[in-house]
Symmetry: C2
Subunit: 370 residues, 2 copies
């Protein structure tokens, strides 16, 4: 006898390669282990948190082609925990191994201009934006979009890094150079009432499953609290899921995807959505699913990339709240342990630097929804 | 700044040593990682499932004193996933490191005769039993307890191994020798209506927290299904928990403990409990807590041994069912993945031998209790 498998799917015991060794890679590796799969982490930092929970590790730079070839030869499918995988790395791995989500999906999400153009192509609303390559295009963009507006590097931004507010009176050439003077985009300010996100998955068979839309509160540009479900109208929530489905289908996506959106309240009542960012990976705003849903986003991503059926995405509890423990906040972890029903997750990071995500807490409010 | 810790407790990053590399060690290691702790697994089998998810491993025999000394020097606290840790191993480790639960608690639970005498001493009802050391004491025991009765080796029994039914007409000397002729115990048959178990934890501070009493169904002497809560009267359930608390306190226990009991229906109505076996560890009948409780038994055990507060033990769902996937049953895993809301756990074992526990499924029925 042997495992009964659907076409194209892997058997338990298959080797899942994960690029990136942070907390997302760590939680993906644990989810893989829970399903009887073997995680192999590829990351450059020798003290990567994900190394604590994997079967095999490769410590090498993302540009180390020999190490990438060894990695690809020793796993059955490759995924990643971050969108800034160099294009050449993704291309090289894709030649040698199945990569999910695909290098094309990755490419669409790692450059803010490409991402906005992709969204415009499929008719999905975003903030107004203009391409900025030099002081001249910067001046034209500001003339068009007004002030305040936001200048963002096209690549490598996260947690508010790589962006600057363009204020009244600011010197435009100085502002442009303050971000390094590389390819950038200027975005109009969206006067949003709420920031929400949709975490969803698309299976290798095209099946789609979204978690409840959740709302996010940032502090110092870092996600602080996620609450599910978002306090928006049912119609807006359904539309948010449909936008996410459209994005996933247009990208022929396999795996978990997260779409951040702004909710703008209309003058005449009603809510309008504008997509802010796509993350081609598991997402901080989906951590609540570890304790608050039938299937965690990490398990869901692993199911998708090995070709298994997606799991149920229903929510436990009337509401679920996730709070990040940032920097020295982690030192008070015992208070969380004493809080009845709070679930503590720590990432095993040695040093509690300012702004560093050290762990999170989930609180599932009683009341079951199924 | 630094971690705010209660006296005697360890900080995140502490190293948890686990003796034994099977599925219990594996799930303990994952729980430790979830709390930011580092798991070090000590096990003799090079392909131990727990090696997939630990920071460090020692592959050595339980009698290898140099390896044990290295292990003890490299961890902050030691625990185990099985009760058959050799006494000398436990003593040696206890001299070098904090061991939880203690070697004394372990000793009380690894010999069926010692265990029964301990229970009798603290006034806890069990099946009638007699010590059997040779053919003579065997004959006397059978004369006393009647037939059918059950002969069990005093040590190393599990999943029905190390026991034999003493039938009418069976040759007693042959029966005694069939179990190896070593120290044994004869137990009277308990005409039970149900087998239940209590999985509970006692903290380093003496706090006690039990999960709902659950009922167990065995097939071929191997646990097949656990259901929480057990269908017994509230009074019987409360008594089962109190018996467990008494046992844990008498052992000055730290960690998760499981107590298996028989429920006997009285002629005049009502239910009576008889303790069958104590497991000084996490237990198969507590696997449902991974998906069906606020805190899993694995996290609870880790919290206890590092001196952290115990977590909430309430149940999600009106009922929770856990089904073991034994041997070739695992080959049908995809059916489980397709079942809405079923949670699949696979242990990463390469070979699906008959009678081997390969994984389990949890089903949480809607309806939340908090």
């Amino acid at each position: 006898m042997a495992f009964q498998l659907s076409p194209g799917s892997f058997a338990p015991g298959a080797r899942v390669g994960i690029l990136g060794g942070g907390q997302l890679g760590r939680m993906l590796a644990m989810a893989a282990a829970g399903l009887g799969l073997k995680a192999h982490i590829f990351a450059p930092e020798p003290d990567s948190p994900a190394f604590d929970v994997c079967v095999e590790k490769t410590v090498a730079a993302y540009e180390d082609e020999a190490a990438l070839a060894f990695f690809a030869a020793n796993v059955d499918v490759i995924t990643y925990e971050f969108e800034n995988v160099p294009a050449r790395t993704a291309a090289l791995l894709s030649d040698l191994c199945l990569v999910r989500p695909s290098a094309a999906a990755l490419a669409a999400c790692q450059d803010r201009l490409v991402e906005k153009e992709f969204l415009a192509d499929i008719g999905i609303p975003t903030a107004a934006y203009m391409r900025v390559d030099d002081a001249g295009s910067m001046a034209r963009a500001v003339a068009q979009l007004g002030r305040p507006s936001i200048l963002k590097t096209r690549r490598f931004g996260y947690d508010g890094k790589g962006q600057v507010l363009v204020r009244e009176g600011a010197d435009l050439a100085v502002t442009f150079r303050s971000l390094g003077g590389g390819p950038a985009i200027l975005e109009a300010i969206v006067p949003f009432a709420k920031e929400v996100s949709v975490v969803a998955a698309r299976g290798a068979d095209g099946a789609f499953a979204a978690y409840d839309v959740c709302e996010n509160r940032h502090e110092n540009h870092i996600l602080k609290v996620t609450r599910a479900p978002a306090r928006i109208s049912p119609g807006t929530a359904a539309e948010a899921v449909e936008l996410t489905r459209a994005i996933a289908e247009a990208l022929d996506y396999v795996g978990v995807i997260a779409v951040e959106m702004f909710v703008v309240e209309q003058a005449g009542g009603g809510e309008q959505l504008r997509v802010n960012e796509i993350a081609p990976r598991v997402h901080n705003s989906g951590h609540w699913t570890l304790d608050g849903s039938a299937t965690s986003q990490f398990e869901q991503h692993i199911r998708a990339i090995v070709g298994w059926p997606l799991g149920a995405t229903w929510r436990h509890g009337e509401t679920v709240e996730m709070e990040n423990l940032i920097g020295e906040e982690v030192f008070g972890f015992e208070r969380v342990l004493r809080e009845p029903g709070a679930s503590l997750h720590l990432y095993g990071k040695a040093e509690a630097r300012a702004g560093r995500k050290m762990g999170h807490v989930t609180r599932v409010a009683p009341g079951h929804k199924a």
